[in-house]
Symmetry: C2
Subunit: 328 residues, 2 copies
């Protein structure tokens, strides 16, 4: 338990911090993201403080296999929004293998082109090393950027795992990026990705095979039920040459208006918060029941007994719950 005085002190600091975040102060935002990544208690306090100021940002998720040119596309889209004087936040979730560690932060460097522009905030996050899950951390960072007044928040992920699909699902609009020649065989594409796309982008559209890929895409999309009257369009871009970027931004805007008019956006937000609340409840309960060193030790002991067939898993679960006082 923290001391009341310390608590009071923390509250005051958090209020100041929150005020700075809302003003778009880059250092305050960076510090907040680090706190979110570390699942530090002050991150919760801060998010609670800024929460009423959120809900203004439009979240666009951009996903696709490695090599599709997502980063360049996101970069150009960000530049487009900046030219129209919209404040932009970018969260780039970089892929890491579960074992080899270390994020491929690679070409984030290109983003340095925006250096000195305080109207844009860019942050890379690695797939690994987040306490409490990457989807949680990404959602919280998006919320923070929203509070910081970024009206356009772009979430870039590699569309490979369930984790990344969870991330992209928190977006208001999901853009799936494909490229001719690479993921040529649409069959090998994750079925789920096909169905979460609100807009499809055929990037590097000047390459051979673009027409065939577009045909395949249309054929696949004709099988997908339009949701609420929206037929996912296929856009062509050559991001490196800035071609098709304005059209893409306009289509995202069209999608936004379509869904705001139909009330679908509000429905999606309620669903989103249902899932988020369940995750938060889950992690709080687990922390309570199996948190700390003792919880970990107890868990290991019981798991060993079960592995040795000295105890069945259902009995072990009852013991964990009873021991924590959660179960009667």
């Amino acid at each position: 338990m923290p001391q009341p005085i310390h608590q009071e002190h923390m509250h005051r600091n958090v209020k100041e911090w929150a005020a700075k975040v809302r003003q778009g102060d880059v250092r305050a935002i960076s510090r907040a993201i680090t706190a979110i990544e570390n699942h530090a208690p002050e991150a919760e306090e801060l998010l609670r403080e800024v929460f009423p100021a959120t809900g203004q940002a439009y979240l666009t998720g951009i996903t696709g296999a490695p090599g599709t040119g997502k980063s360049t596309l996101v970069d150009r889209l960000a530049a487009y929004y900046r030219k129209r004087d919209e404040r932009v936040g970018v969260v780039a979730v970089d892929p890491t293998s579960p074992y080899s560690g270390g994020a491929i932060l690679g070409d984030r460097i290109r983003m340095q082109g925006h250096a000195g522009d305080s109207g844009i905030f860019i942050r890379s996050m690695a797939t690994r090393g987040f306490l409490g899950g990457l989807a949680r951390a990404t959602a919280e960072v998006a919320l923070l950027l929203d509070a910081a007044g970024k009206r356009q928040v772009l979430i870039e992920t590699v569309g490979v795992g369930q984790d990344e699909i969870d991330i992209v699902r928190l977006a208001d609009c999901v853009v799936v990026v494909l490229v001719p020649g690479l993921g040529d065989d649409i069959q090998s594409m994750k079925a789920g990705l096909m169905e979460i796309g609100d807009i499809f982008v055929l990037n590097k559209a000047d390459r051979e095979g673009a027409d065939r890929l577009e045909e395949q895409l249309h054929a696949m999309l004709s099988l997908v039920m339009p949701h609420d009257g929206w037929h996912p369009p296929v856009m062509r871009t050559v991001a490196t040459e800035n071609r098709g970027i304005a059209e893409l931004a306009e289509t995202i805007e069209k999608f936004r208006k379509h869904f705001e008019a139909s009330g679908e956006r509000q429905k999606k937000h309620v669903e989103h918060w249902k899932n988020r609340l369940v995750e938060m409840v889950e992690s709080r309960l687990l922390e309570k029941v199996l948190g700390g060193k003792e919880g970990e030790a107890k868990l290991r002991e019981l798991a060993t007994e079960v592995a040795e067939r000295k105890k069945d898993p259902f009995t072990a679960v009852s013991e964990i719950l009873k021991g924590s006082g959660v179960d009667r």
Copy 2:
């Protein structure tokens, strides 16, 4: 609360049912799997009853993209074990998109070749429609087949999502199937899949491009750290012609002996049960806190308030926990 008499009746029935499962009675096993799929309370009772008899089976996970010929491979491997008079259980997890529904049970029909052989039990499971998650259901079915005396349990999944990686992780030995021409571009393969493979199979090895794929594979594998002295080998098979099957089975056996000798298998089982216990605790707590119609209604109400920024999510979580009596 069930009546004591009913409870007593259920206990007696479950004991009889468990005895039949242990004898390998096909109807008893089928009924049990249905109960597991439906997350019925008697499934837990039954699994608790048979649990001490488990831990004898060797679980081999076989995964790969669609079109790699996994099913045929599993089929031939099962036939190989049957010839050596080992009892075999097969759980084939079929892919389904999250929206379109309906399992692609497709070529399971070939498995009918084993019809009339009581020493083999085959069950297909769809990715969708399982209460409490597919990984849980698959793990429980594997446990059941173990109790039913199947010494070789083959778990076949499509290696695309996190869900399927979770499934394959419960196996003692993971076989990753690749095929020339299809997933030719190793880069596009899930990084995680590369690292969970204990044995790699190059199926349809009579096809063009097999040598190149094998080279690529070896190059990739040279980057992966050998775990506990095991260097994942690359095997060549032509499952449709039964070529390489015996060699594959022998390699699986070699892997088994390697890990039993090193004590690694026991360690893996403890890790496995740690994860399983956490999942079970999680789902029990959630059921307690947000279960039933009231829980669902409360959750929706709070999520709506949060979506409308009338309440912050942290306050909503506290209310859920307090309301349930779980939090002080």
